[in-house]
């Protein structure tokens, strides 16, 4: 009998079959996991086999109002390596080709391999276009290497640095916030570059090809549905006038201060300068880190845009506002004469009983003290405390209609609002019913708690030029050829009739034209300029020199404010600078001999020869 014993073991087939079925189930379970559940593997497969090339759009240019290019896009290149694409590399030749040392090449390759076989690592950054041309010609000899284009900004005239802003590498935060950016991408960080980033940057394109393990392209158009071309960024036309801007920077070079020039009829900012300024080209490319550090440490704060962010007390210039709103309120009229009572408040110069127009010319402090006292107190509501509080709030509303205490549309980030105090403000300082006009009288002449910005002061000049209204100052004339961005240049009325401005404008014209007027240095033969000087106290240093003006008086083309810090009275520096700018803008030229005296740094002040006029 064969296999008698063995036959007894026939039940063992079930153990064997059990083992086979167990293993089979384990395999199928594993397949379920790999093929049905684990989605990550599919993503990794397409990461490996699809080489997605991002086509970078070219960034929109920034132009001046006449189409002159202020900022253009230029390219530099990064040499990158993909370790898995490398083949039979002659490291020595490659290092020569790449323009780096053999050791640097070895170190880069080692670093790249350690980082990832499948990801690109930079070998050399910021290669200039000329060198790129040389390298591109023999790129084919070095498989695994690629030259990546990096858009860079070129500031053709190196002007309006603060307005245009910085274009720099996107930070980790930017990457997290916006999926558009990839590591190493650039974006507008400040100024117009940042505000109009989305329009300027355009849309990235994408092209997918299927590659093999050596990164050679094997299939094109497989994922064509996902492909799309890049859309270039929109060109941005600013409201700036390049000639005027350059001229303003020329005149402010070496000084501290600002210039804001506005076209009164449109609210377009023709020039905006904050000094000290710096060459924006320093902030691009390899020099950025060093330049940024030194700018940050500079005690003059060159990174700070004084034109819209700095706040100063308005000083005498504020008397223009006081006069206009007082007439509108009916507390004075053009012919109202008030005594120059220097017991109330100090004054300068020989005058005794000015009307409004002369009070502007003489910048008579007691006159405007009395004007504001009338304003605040003329509506009696019982106690003089309550009357003052009520009057101040109505006064404040009227002043704010001139754009003071507001951000004027806030078209540049960080634009300051300044301060026009309300009754509540003084309640906080002195306590409710603990103050009246005599407590706060210094705001009557633009001192005290008032704070305004150079932009607001230029806007005031525009309001005076327009006789009672303004368009919100803005910086963009056109975006992508379809006009300005929505909502800019909104017209605002001060609510004061045009006719009421006549005595004020007469006064302003006389500030410049009258013998002994504080703004005599702004006189230009053949152009009727209306101006007003201001002298902002800056203890213990020299006062800030301020001047606002518009011209010509009939059909005004330009309104501006000029601030020169620590430079003495408004007539000394700010007025002549303003005049040179007006002349430049209206006639296209200036008397260079006259201009020469105002270039460069301000010389140390000579001993005062006469009492400074505010």
């Amino acid at each position: 009998m064969s296999g008698g014993r063995a036959l007894n073991e026939s039940g063992r087939i079930w153990t064997v079959v059990g083992i086979v079925l167990t293993i089979t189930s384990i395999f199928i379970g594993r397949l379920v996991h790999l093929q049905l559940i684990d989605n990550d593997l599919k993503v990794r497969a397409s990461d490996l086999t699809e080489n997605r090339t991002i086509i970078k759009p070219s960034r929109g240019m920034i132009l001046d109002r006449h189409g002159e290019v202020l900022v253009a896009s230029e390219a530099v290149y990064d040499l990158v390596v993909l370790p898995r694409g490398l083949a039979d590399l002659d490291t020595a030749a490659c290092a020569v080709w790449a323009g780096i040392s053999r050791e640097a090449m070895d170190a880069s390759l080692k670093k790249a391999r350690r980082f990832s076989r499948y990801k690109y690592t930079a070998v050399r950054r910021r290669i200039a276009p000329e060198e790129h041309a040389r390298m591109a010609a023999s790129l084919y000899a070095y498989p695994g290497f690629e030259l990546w284009r990096k858009p860079l900004r070129s500031h053709r005239h190196a002007v309006a640095t603060h307005l245009i802003g910085e274009y720099a590498e996107a930070s980790r935060d930017d990457l997290d916030r916006d999926a558009f950016y990839r590591l190493g991408d650039f974006k507008g960080k400040t100024g117009l570059e940042s505000i109009y980033e989305e329009a300027l940057r355009g849309e990235k394109g994408r092209r997918s090809v299927v590659v093999d393990a050596r990164n050679r392209v094997r299939q094109v158009g497989v994922a064509a549905s996902k492909d799309r071309p890049a859309v270039d960024g929109l060109d941005l036309t600013t409201t700036l006038d390049l000639d005027l801007q350059q001229h303003a920077e020329l005149l402010l070079a070496g000084k501290t201060g600002s210039v804001v020039a506005i076209e009164p009829s449109t609210g377009e900012v023709l020039a905006i300068v904050s000094a000290p300024f710096f060459d924006p080209n320093l902030m691009l490319g390899a020099t950025r880190g060093k330049a940024y550090d030194s700018l940050l440490r500079d005690p003059q704060k060159p990174l700070f845009n004084r034109a819209v962010r700095a706040t100063y007390r308005p000083g005498s210039i504020f008397k223009l506002v006081q006069g206009a709103i007082a007439m509108d309120e009916g507390v004075i009229h053009a012919g109202t004469r008030l005594p120059c009572n220097r017991d109330l408040i100090g004054c300068h110069g020989p005058h005794t009983l000015d009307d409004l127009s002369s009070a502007v010319v003489h910048s008579c402090n007691p006159y405007f003290y009395q004007v504001m006292e009338r304003w605040i107190n003329h509506r009696n509501t019982g106690s003089h405390f309550a009357t003052a509080a009520d009057g101040l709030d109505r006064w404040r509303a009227q002043v704010m209609a001139f754009g003071f205490g507001t951000k004027l549309g806030n078209r540049l980030r960080g634009t300051a609002a300044g301060n026009i105090p309300a009754a509540a403000y003084y309640d906080k300082i002195y306590g409710k019913r603990h103050w009246d006009f005599r407590t706060i009288y210094s705001i009557a002449i633009g001192e005290g708690e008032l704070l305004t910005t150079p932009l607001q002061m230029a806007n005031l000049a525009a309001i005076l030029a327009n006789r009672g209204w303004y368009r919100e100052p803005h910086y963009v004339k056109d975006l992508g050829g379809i006009g300005p961005p929505a909502g800019v240049g909104t017209r605002t009325e001060t609510g004061i009739e045009a006719a009421q401005f006549k005595p004020i404008l007469d006064g302003m014209q006389n500030v410049v034209e009258e013998q002994g007027g504080t703004g005599w240095r702004a006189r230009i033969p053949g152009i009727q300029i209306c101006g007003k000087t201001g002298t902002v106290q800056n203890d213990p240093l020299e006062d800030h020199s301020v001047f606002i003006a518009f011209a010509p008086r009939k059909n005004p083309q330009i309104a501006l404010s000029v601030y020169v810090e620590s430079a003495g009275s408004g007539g000394d520096w700010a007025a002549p600078i303003a005049a040179l700018l007006i002349e430049q803008y209206l006639t296209g030229q200036v008397d260079s001999a006259k201009q020469a005296g105002y270039l460069g740094a301000i010389p140390p002040a000579p001993a005062p020869t006469q009492a400074p006029a505010p």
Binding site: V20, I23, Q35, A45, Q219
Partner: protein, 440 residues
Amino acid sequence: MSAHRQNINRNIDWALLSMFALLALLGWLNLVAASTGPDSEISWTLGTMYGRQLIWLGLSTAVGLLILRIEGEFFLRTTWINYALTLALLAAVLVVGRKVGGARSWFGFGGFGIQPSEFAKFGTAVALSWWLARQQGLHDMKSMVGALMIIGLPAGLILLQPDAGTVLVFVGFVFALYREGMNGFVLVAGFSALVMVVFTVITGATTVQYPWLGPWSGILRFWLIASVVFTAGVLVGRNLVRPRNRPRITRNLILSAIAALAFSAVLHTTMATVLRSHQRERIHVLFGIEVDNPDADYNIRNARIAIGSGGFSGRGWCEGPMTGFGFVPEHETDFIYCKWSEEWGFLGSSLLVLLFAAIVIRIFFIAERQRSNFTRVYAYSFGGILFMHMLINIGMVLGLAPVIGIPLPMMSYGGSSVLAFSIMLAVLLRLDAERFSVLR
């Protein structure tokens, strides 16, 4: 005998034959895809990889048909010629063989090559069948020693090549031995050893190292924990065992604990000293232990990605970019299953696993219906070998077993393997077809 010969065709197990033919067909179609990237056209010439494979398939069919004409008695009588030839070829290849990839395992004839180790499986299978049929099972020392020698001799020669994968396949004979009466404890012990390998490797490589203990610190800590658990288990388990059985069970437990400790120690030392660094890396990769070399798991990682990217229904025939564009090395030989999985997805992958399982199980059932001990042992040997191929190869590409290079039967490119499996199949079909007439 002539009367029965007429019944050969009718008695052939058509189910097994057709499943095997289906496997061969799928395997060949898959090879067409493997040598045709998604970006190229199929060229129907014999100069291609699938062209050569087709020649091998044709040759295998011819040899198979010839074998079906030969009486089973022939293989019984030529057992020792066969076995001697196997050993002679295995010895010869060590001397005159062509060295490929570090192993001397090929005879080269111009463009074609022959791997004697593939045919050694057949030679060993018939010799083992002859011996166990003669001994009427495995129930004494003599039969056991004989069986182990028959398996061990060719396995030893193959280990000298060295070709660890094929040696591992010889473990498949354990199914035949088990069926013929080997103590079932061997299977349990084998399984326990496997578990211990896993624990030893993982704890040896990952546990905190105590500097004064050197490389032993991890393993010692593992054993400290294990012995606490073991002691607690004994104390609790005692109460579940009848008192008269306690001495025996306690003795067995202590012996197994000592054996396990010794095994683990030997294994750990082997890992640390004998294995070369790339082999250690492969094992570490399998267990998910971080290795210093980022490319150590390149193959297996990309294999897994290729399989995963197949999804439910796959990329389609000839359309798999992972395998088609060179991301999976050896995707036409050892990693052929990746090709199949990427292009046919979960549906195809599980179908292939089930097809293999069905073939193996069918062979075991065929074995059980034999009156001939020789045929039964042969069938178990064949089934066991096939199963080991599937276990190691698919387990490897699925990341469940370390990277060991052996072909997937009828799927991987390679003539020797196809011819060897076809011969083994044909012999089984012939022997089985004679089941009603032959009593050995």
